[in-house]
């Protein structure tokens, strides 16, 4: 039955995430935006131990989560992600966790590889996982990557340059984590030759050459990583080495069906932060927002604010739907792309409008609104740009292959 309500246990959990966002993230938000390459280690330690105590595999997991939360894992991840990004999207992305690297292992690895590589996130000191796909010469066109993996005895040698790798520095050089690198076994085979390789932290031949200075999400490290005859054991190739049309590339692409709703949820958290701030601000200024009234009788501020609110709601409902479908075992590529495209666009506009509504105050770095506008923009770009997501939607609704519509 159509239902948009959560159970009390879920509401309680979200309150807890909100407390983290408000009590732990907001107070350090501005500091780690201004000082881009510094790290909030106490925050990382706290989040890491909380995850150890409450996360998957922990003794308290089953008791702390309701049946709903366990059954609708992706959906409830979107909800908690929204809360934490309401706090600070950059800090959220920088929290020690398996990341996209872990997601790639979970999607493409053999059971043995999953155990071997993912176990570390359940124990010991904070660690990060990352995924390196994008290169200086290709972003959206990920099938055109030029990083190579060449067989050499029992190993592969990886050569190439990756950029825009989230948590790349923390994964490669600042913790006992790993980076999953997309490299090709055979350039002439196109997509079929592209495979994911796990490169352990501090592997010789893997060097972080640059950590970017960004418009927003500054607390999250975005790395350029150079692979120069970087040697990895053959059993670090996730899944099977066979060059075939299915597997590898497709498996990892499939992880995007799961991560796109979560990225949409990130955007929604940032959008909501801006909306909540504007709402409280207008209330303090005694500017009324009169719902139910004919639009013709509203002031421009009311119309703008209500428009921002409903755009956020629309994006949120699309996101929930995409995540729910995944939890129900349904294919959700179309819906995930709809959610991501909508959220990226809507939250870009919402946060830009929030700065505008607050005039010079919105523009000032004394208030976090301008930061949220900067943080929001990335959601329109990474994990599939808005345009690529529109392309995916279009292909699905028109039933066209990538050859027919590109």
């Amino acid at each position: 039955m159509i239902d948009f309500e959560f159970e009390p246990q879920v509401r309680a959990q979200l309150k807890m995430y909100h407390a983290v966002a408000e009590g732990m993230m907001r107070p350090i938000s501005r500091e780690f935006d201004e000082h881009e390459h510094e790290k909030p280690w106490p925050f990382y330690e706290a989040m890491w131990s909380a995850a150890q105590n409450l996360g998957p595999g922990s003794t308290s997991e089953s008791s702390s989560k309701s049946d709903g939360a366990v059954k609708l894992r992706n959906l409830y991840t979107c909800l908690s992600t929204e809360e934490l990004c309401w706090g600070d999207a950059g800090l959220f992305l920088s929290i020690p966790n398996p990341g996209l690297g872990g997601a790639a292992v979970a999607a493409a690895g053999t059971p043995e590889q999953k155990e071997r590589f993912l176990k570390r996130f359940r124990e010991g000191k904070p660690k990060w996982g990352a995924m390196a796909i994008t290169e200086p010469g290709c972003g959206s066109d990920s099938a055109a990557i030029t990083t190579t993996a060449t067989r050499d005895g029992d190993d592969y040698l990886i050569n190439g340059t990756k950029i825009f790798c989230t948590a790349g520095e923390m994964s490669a050089e600042k913790s006992e984590g790993f980076v999953v690198v997309w490299a090709t076994l055979d350039r002439s085979a196109g997509r079929a030759g592209i495979k994911p390789f796990v490169v352990e932290h501090h592997t010789p031949g893997m060097t972080v050459t640059r950590v970017e200075n960004k418009l927003g999400i500054r607390a999250s490290d975005t790395a350029m990583i150079v692979f120069d005859n970087c040697r990895v054991p053959a059993n670090h190739l996730l899944g099977s080495a066979e060059v075939k049309p299915t597997g590898g590339f497709k498996d990892v692409m499939a992880t995007f069906d799961a991560t796109r709703p979560i990225v949409a949820a990130m955007a929604i958290g940032v959008g909501r932060a801006a909306l909540d701030y504007v709402r409280d601000f207008l209330k303090d200024q005694k500017v009324p927002i009169r719902y139910g009234l004919s639009p013709r009788r509203l002031t421009t501020i009311e119309r703008d604010f209500m428009e921002m609110e409903v755009q956020l709601k629309a994006a949120r409902l699309l996101t929930w739907r995409a995540a729910w479908m995944l939890d129900m075992g349904m294919r959700n590529s179309l819906e995930a792309s709809m959610a991501k495209a909508k959220a990226g666009k809507a939250v870009t506009l919402i946060t830009q409008k929030a700065v505008e509504l607050l005039g010079p105050i919105g523009y000032s770095r004394k208030v976090l609104v301008e930061k949220w506008m900067r943080d929001a923009k990335i959601n329109d770009i990474f994990e599939g740009t808005q345009q690529i997501n529109l392309m995916i939607i279009a292909r699905r609704i028109l039933d066209y292959s990538s050859k027919e519509l590109n």
């Binding site: 039955m1 159509i2 239902d3 948009f4 309500e5 959560f6 159970e7 709903g68 609708l72 959906l75 719902y291 139910g292 009234l293 004919s294 639009p295 013709r296 009788r297 209500m306 609110e309 409903v310 709601k313 629309a314 994006a315 409902l317 699309l318 929930w320 739907r321 729910w324 479908m325 129900m328 819906e335 709809m338 495209a341 909508k342 345009q387 529109l390 392309m391 939607i393 279009a394 609704i397 028109l398 066209y400 027919e404 519509l405």
Partner: protein, 369 residues
């Protein structure tokens, strides 16, 4: 627990209604728009689906189905997918029957509901909208003043569907403008009541297949028992919300009709040697249209779910309606654009969808869930 799954009954209803809309309603749409007439046989066929009768309890002669705003929204969308005028016509009796059911006393229910539990379509309607550019449901100009044994009604209503053919019209009038929604009451007024005049049929940009009228009330006197006065206190806010959810749902239906038509056209139509759907400009328009249709539907369903939980849902329904008016306009406008010059001619249905879609921002009170 959050769920986007329809019940089996809802799936069945949706499938039945969309099949009917596709096979019977859509083929009749162009003629209804050009001539203003809908064949009686089509109305009777639609009536047989039991979409109004279903929600009337067995005690009053109906099927006694559980009334659900979500189900009502599904029905409204699928009928509107066929044609907005025909859909609105078929559902018009709800405008009288549902408020009487929810807020009428037993005598009122017995008197009024039997017409809508019958085998044949019987017109009944409500008068909500007023002819002012800044119409506001919380500031109705139509007023009711008590004179001890009855009420005097004064005001002008417009866009009243099927007024000419309705034995009874439910008039929404305020007894206390200061109370906004809280000051509004519903009065069951017989068409022949002295002081009530029905104009000639209105001429609008769209909704041309639907017969709508202006209803003027000049010291129209009605008895005390015409005021809806059941055990449930009359709740105009809820009625407004139900109307807005219906509009949002119908907007989804119209938008979907336009989108599917444009999508199919774009896959066939060639330019520069290839189907235009293979060009990004067109493909991206279609992608945005599909996304907005789905988003609008979810907003409508969320508001409907709130109504089903017993809430007034004014904010949610207003959000859904406002969003739907915008998205339906974008989708239908894009559909005309995709068909280019052919979209502009009154042969393909997209220009009709556009004219109908514009109504959602300006017309209110002609449908309910």
């Amino acid at each position: 627990m959050i769920s986007f799954e329809l019940t089996e009954e809802q799936r069945m209803i949706r499938d039945t209604v969309v099949a009917f809309a596709t096979a019977e309603i859509r083929p009749a749409a162009r003629l209804a728009d050009e001539t203003g007439a809908i064949p009686d046989s089509l109305i009777e066929q639609a009536w047989e689906l039991g979409l109004v009768r279903g929600a009337i309890p067995e005690d009053y002669g109906g099927y006694g189905d559980t009334r659900s705003a979500v189900t009502g929204a599904i029905v409204a969308e699928e009928l509107a997918f066929g044609d907005l005028s025909i859909a609105t016509h078929v559902l018009t009796p709800r405008l009288l029957a549902f408020p009487v059911l929810e807020f009428g006393n037993n005598e009122q229910r017995i008197r009024i509901l039997k017409d809508f539990a019958s085998d044949k379509f019987v017109a009944g309607t409500a008068a909500f909208l007023e002819p002012r550019f800044d119409f506001d449901a919380s500031a109705l100009a139509t007023a009711a003043v008590s004179d001890g044994t009855g009420y005097l009604l004064n005001g002008v209503k417009c866009c009243v569907p099927l007024a000419e053919d309705s034995a009874n019209i439910l008039i929404f009038a305020t007894t206390n403008r200061d109370l906004e929604f809280g000051g509004v009451d519903g009065f069951i007024v017989p068409r022949g009541a002295p002081g009530l005049t029905i104009s000639g049929r209105e001429q609008n940009m769209g909704l041309k297949g639907l017969a709508t009228f202006e209803v003027k009330l000049e010291n129209c006197r009605v008895d005390k028992d015409s005021r809806l006065s059941g055990d449930n206190q009359f709740n105009f806010t809820r009625i407004v919300s139900q109307g807005r959810v219906a509009m949002a749902a119908m907007a989804v239906g119209v938008a979907r009709a336009a989108y599917e038509y444009a999508r199919d056209y774009a896959k066939e139509r060639k330019a520069f040697g290839v189907p235009i759907a293979t060009k990004q400009a067109i493909a991206f328009m279609l992608a945005e249209m599909a996304t907005e249709i789905d988003a609008t539907r979810l907003l409508a369903w969320e508001a409907a779910a709130c109504l089903d939980h017993g809430e007034d849902a004014l904010i949610e329904s207003s959000q859904a309606r406002n969003y739907a008016a915008q998205s339906a306009l974008m989708v239908t406008d894009n559909a005309v654009q995709i068909l280019g010059g052919h979209g502009y001619i009154r042969e393909h249905p997209v220009e009709l969808f556009l004219r109908n879609a514009r109504s959602f921002a300006v017309i209110e009170g002609v449908a309910t869930v």
